[in-house]
């Protein structure tokens, strides 16, 4: 992560007076997997399009591989592969013909073209379907064909818009593996999603979008510290009487939330698991499970947006 391949500064885009993207700034390092995260309509796709020069920013500046995509779009688009949300192909052409068309647009030499197309199809596991019409392809296969196009281009940066939405679990698994292999090749990957667990597994850093702004930016553990306040919660699964009171009585415990009859979420300022175990054992309760709640982007996301909503309500009141 020595050099930044993408720099966005104070990017703003307005649609009919409303700011879809509002003064966002971020950088992406060479070889990084960077996730744009947020609800639909938060400005993720618009941001990605501005990086490609497909949408003009109203103000702010972008540099992709040291170039301005507005001034030299062709040079940028030669190095950057893009896979739009729900990527489409010409249904009446085969996978190979579809890639051949874009290969010509990419100016790949005629001599190399066929070999590179075959290699790209093989890479994404579509070699056996090369001569089938795309009309017969499933959603997952189309997504993989979209990725094959990026492989074919030998792009240095891959920009993927919602690559895993609408895929079944197995296809998702497959696709995340392919993205991992791109990273292995040293390709910088930018992807947007609203599916948090996917992002958590493959992203080095994520940017949380909220109403056109980046609300949070950092690696998942960093964000957890920022939003969840230092420690993650402890989940206790135990059977016995008067447990909430008992848990609350332990020194260092800030609050106890009952998840159901016998499961509780305990927030604390310090490591309290040994104390909880001792206290429960002392009270004669059956301790079934005692665990740090896993650091999940889901938790960060929900906590963050709940806090935002509360803030807004308070402002409105």
């Amino acid at each position: 992560m020595s050099t930044d391949v993408i720099q966005a500064r104070e990017l703003t885009k307005r649609y009919q007076g409303r700011a879809a993207v509002d003064r966002i700034s971020f950088t992406v390092g060479q070889g990084e997997v960077f996730g744009l995260l947020g609800p639909n309509g938060a400005g993720k796709t618009t941001t990605l399009l501005m990086l490609l020069g497909l949408t003009d920013a109203d103000s702010g500046s972008v540099s992709v591989l040291g170039r301005d995509p507005r001034r030299s779009p062709l040079a940028v688009k030669r190095e950057v592969g893009y896979m739009p949300d729900a990527v489409g192909f010409y249904d009446y052409l085969t996978a190979r013909e579809n890639l051949a068309y874009t290969a010509k647009l990419m100016e790949i030499d005629a001599g190399e073209r066929d070999a590179r197309i075959v290699a790209a199809l093989e890479r994404v596991g579509l070699a056996g379907d090369a001569d089938r019409r795309v009309a017969a392809f499933s959603r997952g296969m189309r997504q993989r064909l979209g990725l094959a196009e990026i492989v074919l281009k030998r792009a240095r940066i891959a920009i993927l818009d919602e690559p895993t939405s609408g895929l079944d679990p197995q296809a998702t698994e497959n696709f995340l593996g392919l993205i991992g292999s791109l990273r292995h090749d040293g390709v910088t990957v930018l992807l947007s999603s609203h599916l948090l667990d996917h992002m958590q597994r493959i992203c080095d850093r994520v940017a949380l979008f909220h109403q056109g702004r980046i609300a949070l930016l950092g690696s998942v553990p960093e964000l957890a510290r920022q939003v969840l306040g230092g420690r993650s919660a402890v989940v206790v699964d135990a059977r016995g009487d008067g447990l909430p009171a008992l848990l609350r009585g332990i020194a260092g415990v800030a609050s106890v939330e009952a998840l159901d009859d016998h499961r509780f979420r305990v927030h604390a300022e310090r490591e309290v698991r040994p104390d909880i175990a001792r206290a429960l054992a002392g009270a004669g309760a059956e301790l079934l499970r005692l665990d740090d709640e896993p650091l999940s982007l889901d938790a960060i996301y929900n906590r963050f947006f709940n806090a935002m909503a509360q803030e807004e309500r308070r402002h409105a009141a």
């Binding site: 507005r70 030299s72 896979m83 192909f89 068309y101």
Partner: protein, 320 residues
Amino acid sequence: MRREGSPMQGMNVVLLKELADHLRSGRMRVLEWLIVLTAAAALYGVFQQIRSTTASDPYIFLRLFTAAQEPMPSFSALLGFLVPLAAIGLGFDAVNGEYSRRTMSRLLSQPIYRDALLMGKFLAGLATLAVSLLALWLLVVGAGLVLLGVPPGGEEIARSLLFLLLTLAYAGVWLAIAMLCSILFRSAATSALVSLGLWLFLSLLWPMLAGALAQAVATPDPVAQMLGQPGIDTLQWQLALGRLSPSQLFAEGVLALLVPSTRTLGPVFLSQLQGALIGAPLSLSQSLGIVWPQLIGLIAAVILLFTLAYVLFQRREVRA
């Protein structure tokens, strides 16, 4: 802001792909058969009719294009009717089709400008129409050779080739209109409906409306009314308004090119005919002089409509 790189980069790739798509599409095949069959029907009657006058008519080949045998219209009138249909068929989903297939943003993320995409699509449509028209022309000339047994003269060939060029310009206008609609409307069905509606309006309704409008704008003077004639002002207005429709320009061009005895496309005064040999054919260069405004008008309309489509397409958001 100046952009780097040629705007035409990748245009040939787009052109060849679209051309291949057109030539093997079922849509084009249907349109071609429609034109070939109706043309055959129109020509069959004409052959019967003009075979008897082969010896006396110096422009017997041109008669193939212009003669009509009831109930079929002439071959050129048929083309004037069907060529717009073919052009609209090729262009009505040129741009919105890429959106609905969700291929637009993927294409534009390749190293090409939008210019290349639009230009490539337009030229591919025009090339498809040119190939079809040329094939049709060769069929007609070939059939003429076989059935009439007379070779066409050099001037006849030149006039009919110019007619081909005129038809192509006319087709270009409708292709540009269809592509404009495909940019304006997100749905291909709306785009097709609007282009076809425009075609019906300009070809069938506008000639009638032009007459009525001319009456309203320039009321005929009493003298003319007494003579039962429209009056020179009214006539001029009617012509000018009528020529706003490309089909009117095409019809006039056909008349001047394929009927060599046509001396004018507007009103003529008796005094202007003094010394003229009525019915004597004009030379090609003089016919060309008559048809020049019509031909240039059609080409200008193509350029104007394409430019409008280009500007709108540049402003269109990429996201669907």
